[in-house]
């Protein structure tokens, strides 16, 4: 809920090529570049230390978790077995995967569908309606949280995973905005030629627009998957049954049971944290370009 893409007003047709790394500016003295590099290395070390400590401490025996140094000595990989055995970690991983996939696919398809409506059709009030789409991006999650819960409660769907993704079937303002920008950059003649050939409107969407904005669709897909994977508040509100928990919600169980709730077995909590984090790191390396370009696009304003 606090991801950057929750609300934006950016305007531009975003190019999806990776930003070319610019060569150092002419005439920049070597020592100055060296200084910049040194500053960056220092910052990078500071940003990396928490990760290194997390991994290393998760591999140490209980009484060494807070030991000085960054090496996992003594080496205790059995922390992971313990985390794995004590809680239904596999179930939670699977749930997160399922919910994340459903959320990401739902929001991608529906947002693209609606974006096509805004990009292709011309009708009175379109500007106003699109303004309304943009306005909902500013609406704080906390304000609609309670009535939304009551709706799902009324529908008898609390304590199921449905509320975690089904809202995504109706498109999401930021993604509609983003995908519309991409669709507007497609030459209109493409669609008109297909119309002349007798293509239906859904065919225009599915056969022409959809494949052509594939890179943008991947941006939406990976962003939403990440947002769903890391979300705590929805599972916290909607789920009671431990078997239905997603990883962040499950990690809170580990924390309450092994961390400051119980035994102070921080090594188990840390192992659980690593298990919840690693899939996101893998996702980032698989889809790095889409994350970076998606974020860069977010703030680009013409």
């Amino acid at each position: 809920m606090s991801t950057l893409v929750d609300g934006t007003t950016a305007v531009a047709v975003p190019p999806l090529e990776p930003a070319p790394a610019k060569p150092p500016r002419d005439g920049e003295p070597g020592w100055r570049r060296g200084l910049f590099l040194l500053a960056l290395v220092a910052a990078a070390v500071i940003f990396t230390i928490p990760f290194i400590w997390l991994i290393s401490a998760s591999l140490r025996p209980r009484e060494y978790v807070f030991a000085p140094g960054f090496l996992p000595v003594p080496f205790a990989p059995e922390n992971y077995n313990e985390a794995w055995a004590a809680v239904p970690m596999v179930t939670w991983l699977f749930n997160s995967l399922l919910v994340g996939t459903a959320a990401a696919v739902a929001v991608t398809l529906s947002s693209a569908w609606v974006a096509f409506g805004f990009a292709y059709f011309r009708f009175p009030g379109r500007g106003f309606l699109f303004g309304l789409v943009l306005a909902t991006m500013m609406l704080p999650f906390a304000v609609t949280m309670i009535p939304t819960y009551l709706i799902w409660n009324e529908a008898g769907l609390t304590d199921t995973q449905v509320p975690l993704w089904a809202g995504n079937l109706f498109g999401s303002a930021f993604y509609i905005f983003l995908l519309r920008q991409f669709m507007l950059s497609l030459p209109r003649e493409l669609f008109e030629a297909a119309r002349v050939d007798g293509a239906s409107y859904p065919a225009l969407f599915w056969r022409i627009a959809f494949p052509l904005i594939r890179p943008a669709l991947l941006v939406v897909l990976v962003f939403e998957f990440k947002a769903s994977w890391t979300d705590l508040i929805k599972p916290l509100i909607y789920l009671r049954n431990e078997q239905l928990f997603t990883l962040p919600r499950g990690l809170k169980v580990v924390l309450d049971r092994f961390g400051y709730g119980g035994e102070q077995q921080w090594e188990v909590v840390l192992a659980g944290s690593v298990i919840a984090t690693v899939p996101m790191i893998i996702l980032f390396f698989l889809a790095q370009r889409h994350f970076i370009e998606g974020i860069a696009t977010t703030g680009r304003r013409g």
């Binding site: 606090s2 991801t3 609406l139 906390a142 009535p147 009551l150 498109g171 984090t277 970076i292 703030g299």
Partner: protein, 314 residues
């Protein structure tokens, strides 16, 4: 894009073709309109109405008029949590923007290594907020945490980050600054869009590095600065997960002092709604938050209008 030559308004009677097109337009927009009514407009109205009732989910809502708002005006925790939240926002947003800008400026100048460093700064953003909360709760530990150990190396006696009420918030801000990678990338993209000729012209005119930064770089990236200001502020005012994990777990030993020092507004809203089932009162809290966010955003937009430079016709 240029084919809308037929004035729609003039066509009282639509041709069959146009009617078919209109039908499809409705079908394409329908999911969003329905979603808007159910998940945005509906809840807005519903929560305004709920805020005038007493409702615990199992019994029907009971009309109480403005009672919730009266209660809210006397609730010490409301003011405490609102104060904490605004304090956090006032610390986090400018710091995150300044540090991100510094990092982006450095990144812009390192050439081929840029991709590597960008990844380093972005990876914390990929880390689930729950894990971030756990990790920093331990890193901030006064006696054994890495942060105070690091400070000890340079001869600084680190504070009791997690237990001293006046140090809880700075600790939370420190944690929040770990995840500023998105802002860095936005600034970097904006910096790379600044035309090089502007710097060349400035150099010819003999402008110093500082003046170039002040009169070329800042105006040219003011759009990105404005955008991150608005988005980060709205997100900060709704801070929840990391702090909830650090200070609001089911811990018997939970020191009351630190949890009050870490009482954020949305956490209080969440507790009122889902732990005490005071749905009416929580709805009033939600509306107050909505109004606060609207006012702050409005002020920011108004102030920024004087500073934001738009290329071209705006």
């Amino acid at each position: 894009m240029t084919s809308a030559t037929t004035p729609v308004r003039a066509q009282r009677r639509l041709s069959p073709l146009a009617r078919r097109e209109a039908r499809w337009a409705v079908l394409f927009l329908a999911p969003w309109v329905i979603g808007f009514l159910i998940f945005n407009a509906g809840p807005m109205v519903a929560s305004l109405w709920l805020s005038l009732t007493e409702y615990d989910v199992s019994n029907p809502p009971r009309w109480v008029g403005l009672e919730n708002y009266r209660e809210l005006a006397q609730d010490r925790v409301v003011f405490k949590s609102l104060g904490n939240t605004v304090y956090y926002t006032a610390l986090h947003v400018p710091l995150a923007m300044a540090i991100s800008l510094a990092l982006a400026l450095l990144l812009k100048r390192v050439g081929r290594l840029q991709g590597f460093f960008r990844t380093v700064f972005y990876l914390p953003v990929m880390t689930p907020a729950v894990a971030v909360g756990i990790l920093f709760f331990l890193l901030l530990n006064a006696q054994e945490g890495m942060i105070n150990r690091g400070l000890g190396l340079v001869g600084v006696n680190g504070p009791n980050w997690t237990t001293d009420p006046s140090w809880v918030m700075p600790g939370i801000v420190l944690m929040s600054l770990w995840s500023l990678g998105s802002t860095v990338i936005i600034y970097l993209a904006a910096l790379q869009n600044v035309p090089r000729e502007l710097y060349e012209a400035a150099t010819v005119d003999g402008a110093s590095a500082w003046r170039q930064f002040r009169h070329v770089t800042l105006p040219m990236i003011s759009g990105a600065l404005f955008f991150t200001l608005i988005v980060n502020t709205i997100a900060s005012l709704q801070m929840f997960t990391e702090v909830y994990i650090m200070y609001f777990s089911n811990r018997a030993t939970q020191g009351a002092f630190s949890s009050e020092a870490a009482q954020f507004y949305v956490i209080y809203l969440f507790q009122q709604a889902f732990q005490f089932l005071h749905m009416g009162y929580a709805s009033a809290l939600a509306w107050l938050l909505f109004i606060v966010i609207m006012i702050i955003t409005y002020v920011q937009v108004k102030l920024s209008n004087r500073f934001v430079y738009y290329e071209g016709d705006r």
